[in-house]
Amino acid sequence: MFNFTVRRLLFTIPTLLFISFVIFFILDAAPSDPTGNLPLTIPPDVREKIRASLGLDKPMIMRYLLWCKQFFINEPLNLLDQWGLHLGDPDRLRVISFQTRSPVVDMIAERMPQTLWVVGMSYVVGVMIALPIGIISAVKQYSWFDQLGTFISMIGFSVPTFFTGVLMIVVFSTIVPRDSFFWFPSIYDTTLKVTDWASFGAQVRQMAMPVFVLALYNAAQISRFMRASMLDNLNQDYVRTARAKGLRERTVLLVHVLRNSLIPVITVIALGVPQVFGGAIITEQVFKVNGLGQLLIIAIQGGDIPTVQTLTFIFAVLIVLFNLIADILYGILDPRIRYD
C-alpha cells in the first residue's frame, strides 16, 4: 500500500504539470481581454502599455513558465518565510491578480473559510442525512418512506440550486415577517464575528439557507448511492448466512450489510470533497457568500488570468489528490483489493 501511494504520488507530478499547461493554454486561447472592462476613452496605445505592464506582450510559453516559477517556487518559499524559515532572496515576485494587484494566494486564503464553512457544512449535513435515508429506503424497499425518499431525491437532483435558493429567499426572507423565528437573512455577512451566543446564533442563521440548499442537492445523490449499494448487498448469500447464524436483525443490517455497502459509498463521498473546496459557484452567488466560487466567477468576468489559472489549478490538485485518497480508502476497506 505504501509503495502504491508513493508511486501514484510520483505519477501525479507530470499529470498536474500537464493539466496546468492545458489550463494556461485554454485561458490564453480564450477571447477574454483583461483591459476589456476599462473605459472606451482610453486610447489604444495606452491600452497596449497597460497590457505590457501586465506582462501580456510576452509569448504565451514565457508567461506560462513565469507562472510556474511564481507558483511552484516563489509561493512555497513565501509560505516558509511566514513560518520563520528564510531561504533565498525575500524580494521575489508572487502570483499577482490583474484586477486587485494583490497576491492571488492571499485572496484565496481570505475566502477559503467562508467556502469551507458553508459548502463544507452542507456536504457534511448532506452526507449525514443521506446515509440514514439510503439505509432505511433499502431495508424497507417500496415502503412509503422509500417512495418519499425517491421523490425528494428526484427533486433535489433535478431542481437547480439557483431555483431552490431563490425560492428559499422568497419564502424565508420576504414572506416570513422580519421578527419571526423563521426569518433567515438572504445575504451572508462575512464581517460577522462569533464572540458570544447571540453572534453564534446569527452565524447559524445566515448559514442555514445556503447549507440547506446545497445539502438537499448533495443528499439526493448520496442517498441514491447508499440505497443502491445496500440493495446490492441485501440479496447476497452472506446475509442469509448471517441470519442463519441467529444474529439479531440489527447486527445483520449494521455489521454485515452496511459495512460492505459503505465501501463504494465512501469512495463516492471522497471524490465529492474537491467540489467543496471548489465552492458552489451558483449558490455562493445567490446568497452573496464571498467564497472561492464567487472569486472564480469575478476573475473570469474580469479576464483575470493569474487568478483563474491558480484557482483552477488548485481544484485540479484537489481532484487528483482525492482520487488517490478514494483509491487508498478502497484498498483499506475492501480486503479483496491489494495494490502491491
Partner: protein, 325 residues
C-alpha cells in the same frame, strides 16, 4: 429403522412466493415453490432431497430452517413447531439447526476473517471469554481440516474447497443437531467434492449429526443418503430408503430421473434404456390441474389430469404420490 425417533417432522409445508406486477404492485399470483410437502427426518440419518433445477429443493431447505417465512404448514423440531416462530424465540433455536450453503464464495462475508466468521455465532449465543472462543475456533478449524495459521485470512484468499470447509466449520460452531446441506458440493470441482463429502460423513459419525442433503447429483446422494426424497415441481413424488429407490423406483418421474444416471460398466451402458421426458417443466406459478407430473408423464391416465394423487404409504414402507401405485 421404524423404531427411530424423528428429529424433524415436516407437515403440509407450503412456501409460496408472491408475484407483484403493474404500477401499483398488486399481487397477481404466486410461485408455489414448495406445495404441501410432508416428511420426517430421523435422528442420525441423512435424508437426500433430489430433483431437477427449480423444483423447490432449496426453497424447501431454507423454509425448514425458517430462513423464509413459510406460507403454511408445520415444522416440528424436537417437539416444537417452529413454522410460526419469530424474532428472539426463533433466534434462540438457531444453534440447533444450521445450513451449509451452495456457493462458498458468496456465502462468506468478504470483509471478515475466517476466525471472526466462525466466532460470530459463538459471540451471539455463547458467553465465552476471548481465549475460550479462540480455542473453540481452532478446534473447529482442526475438525474440518483447515490449518490454524489461516485464522486471520480473508475468504477470498482460499480455494473453493477450503471456503466450503470454512462454511462447514461455521455451521458446526454451535454444535447443531440438524444441518441442511444445500448443494454443498455443486460449486466445487470433482476432486474436491469427494473430500468435502467424506468430511461431512466423518463429522456425522463423530458428532451424531442429522443431515438434509439437497443435491441434483444422484450418484452422490446414493453414496451419502440413508433415505431419499424425490421432488418435482414443488412436491415430493417419492420417498423411500436409498436401496429401495435406486433399485426399484416406482414413480414414473423417479424412473425417468434415475435412468439418466450413466452406468460405469460400458457393456451395460450400451444397453441402458433412458426414459427421455418430453416437454418442459410447467411454471410453478401455474401448475397443471391434477398431478403435477401429468403433462410429461409417459404413463399418464385420465384421472391424472383431474385429481391430485395423494402422498401415501405403500406396502413396502415407501411413500409415493401416483395414481398407478
Amino acid at each position: 429403522m421404524s423404531a427411530q425417533q424423528p428429529l424433524v417432522q415436516v407437515r403440509n409445508l407450503k412456501m409460496y412466493f408472491p408475484i407483484y406486477r403493474g404500477v401499483l404492485r398488486r399481487q397477481v399470483g404466486e410461485v408455489k415453490a414448495v406445495d404441501d410437502v410432508s416428511f420426517d427426518i430421523f435422528k442420525g440419518e441423512t435424508l437426500g432431497l433430489v430433483g431437477e433445477s427449480g423444483c423447490g429443493k432449496s426453497s424447501a431447505g431454507r423454509a425448514i430452517l425458517r430462513l423464509y417465512d413459510v406460507t403454511d404448514g408445520q415444522i416440528i423440531l424436537e417437539g416444537t413447531d417452529i413454522a410460526a416462530m419469530h424474532g428472539k424465540e426463533l433466534r434462540q433455536l438457531r444453534p440447533e439447526m444450521q445450513m451449509i450453503f451452495q456457493d462458498p464464495q458468496a456465502s462468506l462475508n468478504p470483509r471478515m476473517t475466517v476466525a471472526s466468521i466462525i466466532a460470530e455465532p459463538l459471540d451471539e449465543h455463547r458467553k465465552l471469554d476471548k481465549r475460550a472462543r479462540m480455542e473453540r475456533v481452532f478446534e473447529l478449524m482442526d475438525a474440518v481440516g483447515l490449518n490454524r495459521d489461516f485464522a486471520n485470512r480473508f475468504p477470498h484468499e482460499f480455494s473453493g474447497g477450503q471456503r466450503q470447509r470454512i462454511g462447514i466449520a461455521r455451521a458446526l460452531a454451535l454444535n447443531p443437531k440438524f444441518i441442511v446441506c444445500d448443494e454443498p458440493i455443486a460449486a466445487l470441482d470433482v476432486s474436491i467434492q469427494a473430500q468435502v463429502v467424506n468430511l461431512l460423513e466423518d463429522l456425522q459419525e463423530r458428532m451424531g449429526l442429522t443431515y438434509l442433503f439437497i443435491s441434483h447429483d444422484l450418484s452422490m446422494v446414493r453414496h451419502l443418503a440413508t433415505r431419499v426424497a424425490v421432488m418435482y415441481l414443488g412436491r415430493i413424488v417419492e420417498l423411500a430408503s436409498r436401496d429401495q429407490l435406486y433399485e426399484d423406483p416406482r414413480h414414473p418421474y423417479t424412473e425417468a430421473l434415475l435412468s439418466a444416471v450413466p452406468e460405469p460398466d460400458p457393456s451395460l451402458e450400451s444397453t441402458r434404456e433412458r426414459i427421455i421426458l418430453q416437454g418442459d417443466v410447467p411454471s410453478p406459478s401455474n401448475p397443471p390441474k391434477g398431478c403435477n407430473f401429468c403433462t410429461r408423464c409417459p404413463k399418464v391416465m385420465d384421472i391424472c389430469t383431474q385429481e391430485t394423487p395423494p402422498f401415501k404409504k405403500l406396502e413396502d414402507g415407501r411413500y409415493a404420490a401416483c395414481h398407478l401405485l
